[in-house]
């Protein structure tokens, strides 16, 4: 259990993330560090020469072939993977106010991201050539005016707010990862809790220790409480392990980019002050929601586990339950609460004992506080109901006889 719940997720994410990070960093680095650019110049005019000089000025080692077939060179060479071609008439077109073409030929050696990285580097270069030649042409045609003004007369500056608090523009780049983490982590916690708690009783059935346990001089409620506390402690450690692994995993691509030589002035993925977004109320209520949800689903798991003869059967019961958790969970990942109809919002609240941490957090962040409060109240009530049912169930002989009764009913149905 220790291995599967705590060590496995941590190792799995760290290994996958580490491989991803290493592979991406290596491939992109290799691609970006290749400073040789192969050019076929069939134009031999003024503007193609200017463009080639521009590339040389950028520090690239430029190899130029003249009056030849780019495709042929590419197909014959093992070393060359991308060629830029200035076709005949390139300079003529630009001199006469017509659009000119630059052709790119790329030979993808393998279906990896690295292949695309080389192509991406050349595309970026062509875009820079485009801007450079625009400036040249503007100076030649208009003169006296700053070409940058013509090229981009409007400067854009965005202000982004979440819950009325301004966040850096770079936060947008993190938003996808962030929302996925916020939704996925609680879903995993909830399903893990049901899984562990059901196994805790099912294993007593499987190992034939339940009968002795129930005759010990200790109250059944204490047994239930002991199991629940055990589940919660284990789940919290497992969650922490999962989150550490998951954060490592989702930040692996970012870390890979950060390790690359900087192309622009600043990195896209600056550390965003994400935590400052959430006020104390949001944090406290979400933590309360996590706590009660864990107890509620833990009790439900213990109930399910007690009707299963062994751990495997218990896991089968849990599997069929998980859609109740994942369907609303996935919907919340893609939709804002305001996009749901009132009926939809009420259904979400009704299901909230399973998804309360997500719902409370989202509702407070998106400014729909009634959903957060309703969810919390219902979750707390549901928790007490579940604990009461589980305690009552433990007190009765059903904990020992229900499996037998269910088996007999199934047999009768078959007949």
């Amino acid at each position: 259990m220790l291995l599967s719940l705590i060590i496995a997720p941590l190792l799995m994410f760290i290994i996958i993330g580490g491989i991803m990070r290493f592979a991406m960093a290596t491939t992109f680095k290799e691609a970006l560090e290749k400073r040789t650019i192969y050019i076929v110049n069939n134009d031999l005019g003024k503007y193609s020469e200017m463009a080639i000089d521009y590339i040389k000025d950028k520090g690239f080692d430029v190899r130029v072939f003249e009056n030849t077939n780019a495709e042929e060179i590419l197909s014959k060479s093992e070393e060359i993977d991308v060629i830029i071609e200035f076709p005949k008439g390139f300079s003529y077109n630009l001199s006469n106010g017509l659009k000119a073409k630059i052709l790119t030929y790329a030979s993808i050696k393998g279906l990896s991201i690295g292949g695309y990285a080389v192509f991406g580097k050349v595309s970026g270069l062509i875009s820079e050539i485009n801007t450079y030649l625009s400036r040249v042409l503007i100076r030649e045609v208009v003169g006296g005016i700053d070409p940058d003004f013509i090229l981009s007369p409007v400067v854009s500056k965005s202000h982004m707010y979440i819950s009325g608090k301004e966040v850096p523009e770079t936060f947008m780049a993190m938003l996808g990862f962030f929302s996925a983490g916020i939704i996925v982590a609680p879903l995993v916690i909830v399903t893990t809790t049901i899984g562990i708690s059901s196994s805790m009783i099912a294993v007593e059935n499987e190992e034939r220790t339940l009968e002795v346990l129930l005759t010990l001089p200790i109250s059944r409620f204490k047994i239930l409480l002991g199991k629940l506390i055990g589940v919660i402690i284990l789940v919290l450690i497992a969650t922490l392990s999962f989150l550490v692994g998951f954060m490592f995993y989702i930040t692996a691509p970012i870390a890979a980019f950060e390790e690359l030589p900087k192309v622009g002035e600043k990195s896209l993925f600056e550390a965003s002050p994400i935590l400052t977004l959430f006020d104390l109320q949001t944090i406290v209520l979400t933590v309360v929601a996590v706590f009660f949800t864990l107890i509620a689903v833990g009790s439900l798991g213990l109930l399910l586990g007690s009707i299963a003869p062994d751990v495997r059967t218990a896991q089968t019961y849990i599997g069929s339950l998980s859609f109740i958790i994942f369907i609303p969970g996935m919907m919340l990942m893609f939709m804002d609460l305001s996009k749901f109809t009132l009926t939809g919002q009420v259904v979400l609240v009704a299901l909230s004992p399973f998804i309360s941490p997500i719902l409370v957090f989202k509702a407070l962040l998106e400014g729909v506080p009634w959903i957060a409060y309703a969810s919390l109240i219902w979750t707390i009530a549901f928790t007490f109901i579940m604990v009461a049912i589980a305690a009552k169930f433990m007190e009765t002989e059903k904990i020992l006889t229900l499996q037998f009764t269910l088996k007999m009913k199934a047999l009768r149905k078959k007949r």
């Binding site: 190992e207 034939r208 002795v212 129930l214 010990l216 009765t396 002989e397 020992l400």
Partner: protein
């Protein structure tokens, strides 16, 4: 007089099946009492009711005067139950398992050493339970049941799964504990020889009803036969 176990008109239904049919008998304090009968006779159901695991459909069961339904908590303080098919926590060592049980019963940890001795497991007591054979596990469980010196030990087929030598060892231990510490024992068994050897009194049970109760000698004399097997066959009117 307060009996260690007092059963009056006990009836137990599983759905529509009547497992126990107006069962009545008493177990006196300090005696070893045997429940003997074929499979499905109701031995385990009776022991489970005494152990507070199952509830009677009707009738009364008292342990040292405490009702097993209304005062189950009090009953559990007095009993120690060994189910027929019991297990122990796999990832604990034998010693850790006994220590865990001693803590629950709030008895001094020195008692654990007594449990270790009863089990006769030697060095294997410090190995994890999952490495034990069926017989070793059974000896550990018998040790767990007896080391707490309960007022009433409820043993369902205590020597089940044990070889001849170990079964004899366990029988002697049960006898020793019952006499030395005044532990009352109620046990079930298929093994008539075991019952003859161990029990002060015996109840023959068949189809949920008590057929006969008495000491082995009384029963042998009453039916004019040589052993309990023959008593049983005669009492139920043949096979």
């Amino acid at each position: 007089m307060v009996f260690a176990v007092e059963i009056i008109d006990l009836v137990k239904f599983y759905g529509k099946v009547k497992a126990l049919d107006n069962l009545s008998f008493n177990v006196r304090e300090g005696e070893i009492f045997g429940l003997v009968g074929p499979n499905g006779a109701g031995k385990t159901t009776t022991l489970r009711i005494i152990a507070t695991l199952l509830k009677p459909s009707s009738g009364t069961v008292r342990v040292f005067g405490y009702d097993v339904v209304k005062e189950a908590g009090e009953v559990r303080k007095l009993i120690s139950y060994l189910p027929e098919e019991a297990g122990a926590y796999r990832f604990l060592t034998g010693r850790e398992y006994l220590e865990f049980m001693a803590k629950i019963y709030r008895i001094p940890s020195s008692v654990v050493e007594e449990g270790v001795k009863i089990s006769g497991l030697g060095d294997a007591i410090d190995r994890q339970v999952r490495t034990y054979s069926k017989g070793m596990k059974r000896r550990l469980l018998v040790a767990r049941t007896l080391m707490v010196k309960p007022k009433l030990a409820i043993l369902d087929e205590p020597t089940s799964g044990l070889d001849v030598a170990h079964a004899l060892y366990v029988r002697n231990t049960i006898r020793k504990y019952a006499k030395e510490y005044g532990v009352t024992v109620i046990l079930s068994s298929h093994n008539m020889l075991e019952v003859e050897y161990l029990c002060d009194r015996v109840a023959l049970i068949d189809r949920g009803r008590i057929v006969e109760v008495g000491t082995t000698r009384e029963l042998l004399e009453k039916y004019g036969v040589k052993n309990l097997e023959e008593v049983f066959i005669k009492a139920i009117g043949g096979v």
